[in-house]
Amino acid sequence: MSTATKDVKREELESVVIRFAGDSGDGMQLTGSQFTSATAMMGNDLATFPDFPAEIRAPAGTTYGVSGFQIHFADHDILTPGDAPDVLVAMNPAALKVNLPTLKKGGLLIVNTDAFTKNNLKKAGYESNPLEDDSLAPYRLLALEITRMTRAAVTEFNLGAKAADRSKNMWTLGLMFWLFGRDRQPTVDWLKKKFAKKPEIAEANIAALNAGHIYGETAELPSTVGVYQVPSADLPPGTYRNIDGNQATAWGLVAGAQLAGLPLFYGSYPITPASSLLHNLAKLKHLGVVTFQAEDEIAAVCAAIGASFGGSVGVTGTSGPGVALKGEAIGLAIATELPLVICDVQRGGPSTGLPTKTEQSDLFQAVYGRNGDAPLVVLAAATPGDCFYMAIEAVRLATKYMTPVMLLTDGYIANGAEPWPIPDVSKLEPFPVKFHEGPSEGFQPFLRRDDGTHARVWVKPGTPGLEHRIGGLEKAADSGNISYDPDNHHAMTKLRAEKVRGVADDVPAASLDQGEAGGELLVVGWGSTYGSIKQAVERVRKGGRKVAHLHLRNIWPLPNGLKELLEGFDQVMVPEMNDGQLARLLRGELLVDAVPFSKIAGQPFRISELVTEIERRLGDAAPRESSPEVRA
């Protein structure tokens, strides 16, 4: 079976955004990820955004059961899964209902007409059939009997209607492969492997895939349907793979522990969207990783601290509600000065909030959310691939400074994938940990290292002669014994703060990601908004405005030189998927009039939203003024 595509003339596009949407049962995530793999192998740059239904399987056909997967691929460096899709695949009325509003006018719309039954239309809340009224006129509609055609393609395998229908996503994928000139072979291989024990299922799916592809080749599609080909992106040369954020974080933690020369312990309690961190690490036992599914988040973090006490890199991962539970224990790690990495894969809050939606609203909790003066290091990853490096950095700082480090990612980069140039592991800088081993005379557990870090020594239990006790009560700066002395407490509080603040001297000083120092407006971002901001600033700069982009990876302490950089601009705008948390932090720390731009919608910023807002702010070139958002 040949998987090569016929040599048709294809319209060349700089970039395409495709959205696959269907019922939870329609296999859209799978379709999306196969399309992604195939696209990555074509050398396109890409970004994806899976958009799950909330938590529980919803009844088939309802709007809240719609599962979506968006992919943006291009011939140039891209960073977001895109705003409005160019192509929408809607497998049923509910998928159409939910997603049509985002489809570009004139965009390509592929629907499975077989799913447009009366019942489904009603469940989706349609009064009349959109395929039959005028409402789809603005789009290039490709209405196909996908179910029927799939059934036909697989009859020979005698699967029964249900199983047969499950292949319709492959039919659709086959069609899309044809439309965008992707290679079917990897998907064929993957199907064979996945259904190795049920070869008839594999064959049926392959048959459906091919049928869809063939349909594309042979059907007389209406003239409005173009055939696209996106040329390869101009990515730096190297070996690439797809990686999502949680996978990258997991692997980064493993890399970090190896660079530190220590075993990795990961304690966690499942929670969306952090669970796959645990799942990823649980698969790495062959690399010596120990994972522990604890009875709750408190047990998870405490077990990690126990492991750190024993000389491992103790890590715990969770999402916002879990971090809330871990606060007391994190305080203990601060007081006892033990390394600890806490991964917070943020989701919509407050409370249970929107578990499957993304948000950046745990920044305050990360920096301030504990009793007492309890400083720690807070880092934020900007892209899925960046998670790998930030996880390494988290391990480095935790072990070097004997401190908890909170690594903030979010549902968006945790689930989103991007092509990732695989680093040469041997070129990563090691930071081996040296445990303190003596002498036992004069030894005190809170002895400070003489490396300027203010970090205390780390002694592994089992070391003869250095037996000692630690705990959460305040301890004397010198002996480490419990101390109720007033001046000592003052000094120790300052020392803990100073130690964490000192990290600023050990990380890159603040610098612009784009643009020149000084200008009209600086956009300061952090975390997963990186891609949208970068592109938005690019667009505005093309218009000749003096706009720049600075993306913070070090949230606490803030990097050196930040105040000076910010003060160089007339305006500072801080787009965040929260109610202005970083903006408030910057104002308080730097006394700079950073003005938030909030989107708290469980969804990433659209580039166009940012462009509009930047231009609005530039437009009224009035003197700086505090936004009403942050008045008291």
């Binding site: 009875e295 492991a307 006490f309 007391e328 041997s426 003869p464 705990g471």
Partner: protein, 334 residues
């Protein structure tokens, strides 16, 4: 470890910190028992770790010249779990109280027991919150007057060993602070591969003086003590009474022994591997069962299981490393 280990004594296990419990506190006796027991076990100071929560009892690690971690309230078993499964060669003891282990920390106790992590867990039960000055605890009797229950508590208490059995614990024992048999119990707990729970009845002379007098009193105590031993009939410590089972009603009754009473043959015989017997002993009306109530010798040990999986995975993977991991699955060249 050094080649020619010096024989350690009780004093080697005492730290230089002054002991800060109230005069007469039962904690002193338990501390002494443990300090006396460790040398017998061949323990070294460097490979022994005491992990505790918060409470009077949880100050314990400070007094041991070993490694120690005084953590936060109720969570000691979880720290100990993380430590033990990453450092199996260490000998890890958990010290907790009736509030620490059964109020805020009840769930962690349950899970560490069911998992069977190889730890010794010593629960100091004084039926009161000592450290916070005398509020009633989950083991306090109904009617306990305390600052938070001026009209007497209405919470029905839990029985620590029963909670442990409910959690499918594999080693459950009970003793009391000033008992001569306590070191022996500790030895057995230590010998058990898995989570060994030892409840120690402990007097708090300040806030709950004499709650256990009925059992621990030198004179009258023995008639209320039922030290159980595997394969032996159940007889009170004064030798005067024994336990007999009525299999129809499934009730245990305390019967007089000797002349005019019943003979030893009729008594219930302890089988420490039978969880139902342990259960029936857990909360007897007139006497307190002491000793090893339950022991399940061949139960899989959690930390062993963790290591076995890691080793198995490593063996299976052969030489796989991080670089290989990063290149696993689909990759492509640009």
């Amino acid at each position: 470890m050094t080649e020619n280990p010096r024989k350690l004594t009780r004093k080697d296990f005492a730290s230089d910190q002054e002991v800060r419990w109230c005069p007469g506190c039962g904690d002193y006796a338990i501390l002494a028992a443990i300090q006396r027991t460790l040398p017998k076990l061949g323990a070294t100071t460097e490979n022994t770790v005491f992990v505790s929560g918060i409470g009077c009892s949880s100050r314990f690690p400070y007094y041991m010249n070993t490694y120690g971690f005084h953590t936060i309230h109720g969570r000691a078993p979880t720290f100990a779990t993380g430590l033990k499964i990453t450092r199996p060669e260490l000998d890890v003891w958990v010290i907790t109280g009736d509030g620490d282990g059964l109020s805020i920390g009840g769930n962690h106790l349950l899970h560490v027991l069911r998992r069977n992590v190889n730890l010794q867990i010593i629960l100091f039960n004084n039926q009161i919150y000592g450290l916070t000055k005398g509020q009633y605890s989950p083991t306090s009797d109904v009617g306990q007057v305390s600052p938070s229950t001026p009209l007497g508590s209405i919470d029905q208490p839990v029985v620590p060993v029963r909670v442990a059995l409910g959690a499918n614990a594999k080693f459950v024992a009970r003793g009391y602070d000033v008992s001569k048999k306590l070191p022996e119990l500790l030895e057995q707990a230590h010998a058990f591969p898995g989570a060994a729970l030892v409840e120690v009845l402990q007097n708090c002379p300040v806030f709950n003086d004499g709650v256990f007098d009925l059992i621990t009193d030198r004179k009258k105590g023995p008639q209320h003590q039922l030290w159980v031993e595997h394969g032996k009939p159940m007889i009170t410590a004064d030798g005067k009474k024994g336990l007999r089972l009525d299999p129809k009603t499934m009730q245990l009754e305390l019967v007089e022994l000797g002349e005019g009473g019943v003979s030893e043959d009729e008594l219930f015989v302890h089988d420490e591997t039978n969880r139902s017997i342990a259960w029936m002993l857990s909360d007897l009306p007139e006497v307190k069962a002491l000793g090893v109530l339950y022991r399940e010798p061949d139960a899989p040990v959690y930390d062993d299981g963790v290591r076995a999986q890691v080793e198995m995975a490593q063996e299976k993977a052969g030489g796989s490393d991080l670089a290989a991991l990063l290149r696993s699955g689909h990759t492509w060249e640009v």
